[in-house]
Amino acid sequence: MIAIPVKDTGDNPEVDERFGRCAFFCIIDDKGTKTFIENSAKDLSSGAGGQAVSILANNDVDVIIAPHIGPKSMTPILELGIKVFSVGNAKTVSEALEGLKLNILKAVGEEKPGLRRV
């Protein structure tokens, strides 16, 4: 499952620049079907990114495509083994998916920072 932060729902929604505080996540399954989940973490005063990651993990997401992910969200993402790609110039979900298919999106955060296993 692939997740992309988006500004609204619809056929081809626009990518939201903010990961932890985006309005919705667009989840795309192997068949290309889109579902939307509301980002209930977006109004948290702190730690929105981490909570957003756990929402995605509990929806079996293993790939995230996003414009920018802060270091505090990267920690749990790496820990969970989720892959992250930067959207690059893509502005919409279709463009982002196209980029992924063509293998032109840049993978981010390969190297693991000092993590604490629990």
Partner: protein, 278 residues
């Protein structure tokens, strides 16, 4: 006796006043710098630190063999320091506020705590005879109160303690001022400084701490400032005018009270008045 030196936001020379007061206040004092996010009294103290002590905060560790993955700790934590996912629990120590709540909600006692370092305090001598202690919060940490608490627990054997508070009126300043005998508010005769100072005065009023005002860089029109002080019954206990020569000494990290006899006299009088006042 504890004298806290504080100011509104925006650099009115709070540190200058504290270090110069300490410089002339005799041997039986301790100077504590509680501005742990930007401690800079040490720049003026020309001293060497003789000992360091780490300050720690707790973070939870989950015993995976006991944990039943109920998710209660993760949904309890208001700071997202524990994320409970289907796959695993992830603890982010640097997000933890050390509230102790997660172990209270855990039904099977799977949570214990370990300590991580969030900063340290340093001890040394200022003028070869006075105690000097400051604290430093590591970059990226948010909880200065633990470091401040540690700094404030030092130098208790000195007759008087001069405490340099963090600027402003937020939590860290409140923590520093708590229990002080007297607060010395450092301000300047400008509308900006007056506006910033009002929040500090409000804080001190709420905490019922007696306060006095010191006007740094005096020389400009003080009418508005004095009217405010009068309305709030705040006594103006001293003034330090601004001269270019003072600025030069300050710029190099020098002590005005050592370089200029008139400044020395001014601080000696101020110190005497403060001790009488408190």
């Amino acid at each position: 006796m504890n004298i806290v030196v504080l100011s509104g936001k925006g650099g009115t020379g709070k540190t200058t006043i504290s270090v110069n007061l300490a410089n002339i206040a005799g041997s039986d004092i301790a100077l504590l710098d509680c501005d742990v996010e930007e401690p800079n009294s040490h720049l003026f103290c020309n001293n060497e630190f003789t000992s360091y002590e780490d300050v720690g905060a707790l973070y939870p560790v989950i015993a995976e063999d006991i944990c039943i993955h109920c998710g209660k700790c993760g949904s309890f934590c208001n700071f997202s320091a524990i994320l409970c996912t289907k796959k695993m629990n992830i603890v982010m120590p640097e997000m933890c506020h050390d509230c102790g709540g997660c172990s209270l909600v855990c039904p099977v006692d799977a949570i214990s705590y370990e300590t991580r370092t969030i900063g340290h305090i340093r001890r040394g001598l200022f003028n070869q005879e006075q105690q000097f202690i400051d604290g430093i919060l590591n970059i990226g940490e948010f909880s200065s109160t633990k470091i401040i608490e540690k700094v404030l627990s030092q130098g208790l054997d000195a007759k008087h303690r001069i405490i340099d508070a963090p600027p402003g009126s937020a939590c860290a300043a409140v923590e520093t001022v708590e229990g002080a005998d007297l607060a010395l508010i450092v301000t300047e005769p400008t509308p900006f400084a007056l506006s910033d100072m009002k929040m500090v005065v409000e804080m001190l009023e709420n905490m019922k701490i007696p306060a006095a005002v010191f006007i740094n860089k005096s020389g400009a029109d003080e009418t508005e400032l004095l009217e405010y002080c009068k309305a709030k019954e705040l006594k103006v206990v001293g003034r330090l005018p601004f001269f270019k020569e003072y600025g030069e000494v300050y710029a190099k990290g020098g002590l005005l009270s050592s370089e200029f006899p008139e400044v020395n006299k001014l601080f000696v009088t101020l110190w005497r008045d403060l001790v009488n006042e408190a």
